[in-house]
């Protein structure tokens, strides 16, 4: 519950989210994704949910717009989709992979 509250504070549903392309470089190897932080040289693999989010943000989108797009693509109900996507985005914001538009 406490975690959910923390995630909620990180971004609002209508905040526009953008990829932090200045700091992170992305590629796919054998069907898996890897991102590298150019400021530290560190790199790590991304799971499929984070990879989908990363690809979706080829254009700037809000959380609500992203959910709409996922619902069109996948056979999933809206509540489950929001519940699964929110923590993944929160984690990406904490890791600075994603930024809120007003902070860009």
């Amino acid at each position: 519950m406490a975690k959910k509250k923390q995630d909620k504070r990180l971004f609002e549903d209508d905040d526009i989210l953008v990829r932090n392309n200045d700091q992170f470089l992305f590629t796919e190897v054998d069907g898996e994704s890897v991102v590298m932080n150019v400021d530290s040289g560190h790199y790590f693999g991304m799971n499929s949910v984070s990879t989908d989010i990363w690809h979706m943000l080829d254009i700037d989108l809000s959380f609500n717009e992203m959910i709409k797009s996922i619902l069109k693509t996948y056979d999933v109900d809206e509540d489950t989709c929001r519940k699964d996507t929110r923590p993944a985005i929160a984690k990406m914001i904490l890791g600075k992979l994603l930024l809120k538009k007003e902070t860009v």
């Binding site: 392309n21 200045d22 470089l25 992305f26 590629t27 796919e28 190897v29 054998d30 898996e32 890897v34 590298m36 150019v38 400021d39 530290s40 040289g41 790199y43 790590f44 693999g45």
Partner: protein
């Protein structure tokens, strides 16, 4: 150890100065990479267009081969054991100041189920730092533009 110190003193002065410069630049980059306090390295990701098969002008060859050699020595003897990314950034920066604009490459491959990352620099299609066996198996990241 004594032999190595003696060997160092036998290097020409120009090469000794280059080694010192490489050491300082690599130490600075190591600090930046560890602390993430500054962001002075972003510009080093911007690659210049240069034709792959262009011959390297003869007057630039000594600087490139000396850099390659200096980097191998620093990799071996610097206490912070600079990784490939540090070495590539260090060489690219120093060579750029000499008017030689190299390209930075970063690639990944899967090795034993884990991501294996590597960084290297090339000049006119030739390797300056970071040449490894099987380097073509690395999938390159797109550079920052």
């Amino acid at each position: 150890m004594a032999t190595k110190i003696l060997k160092f003193f036998k290097y020409p002065t120009g090469f000794k100065l280059l080694l010192l410069r490489v050491l300082l630049e690599s130490a600075k980059n190591e600090l930046y990479l560890k602390t993430k306090l500054y962001k002075p390295i972003k510009h080093l990701h911007i690659n210049q267009e240069n034709a792959m098969d262009d011959e390297i002008p003869e007057h630039e060859l000594p600087a490139l081969s000396q850099m390659s050699k200096a980097m191998k020595l620093v990799e071996k003897f610097a206490p912070w054991k600079p990784m490939c990314y540090n070495r590539a950034l260090t060489a690219k920066n120093i060579l750029a100041k000499k008017g030689i604009h190299t390209n930075l490459h970063i690639g990944f491959r899967k090795k034993d189920g884990e991501f294996d990352g590597h960084a290297w620099i090339t000049y006119r299609g030739k390797f300056v730092t970071g040449l490894l066996p099987g380097i073509k198996s690395f999938r390159e990241l797109e550079s920052i533009t």
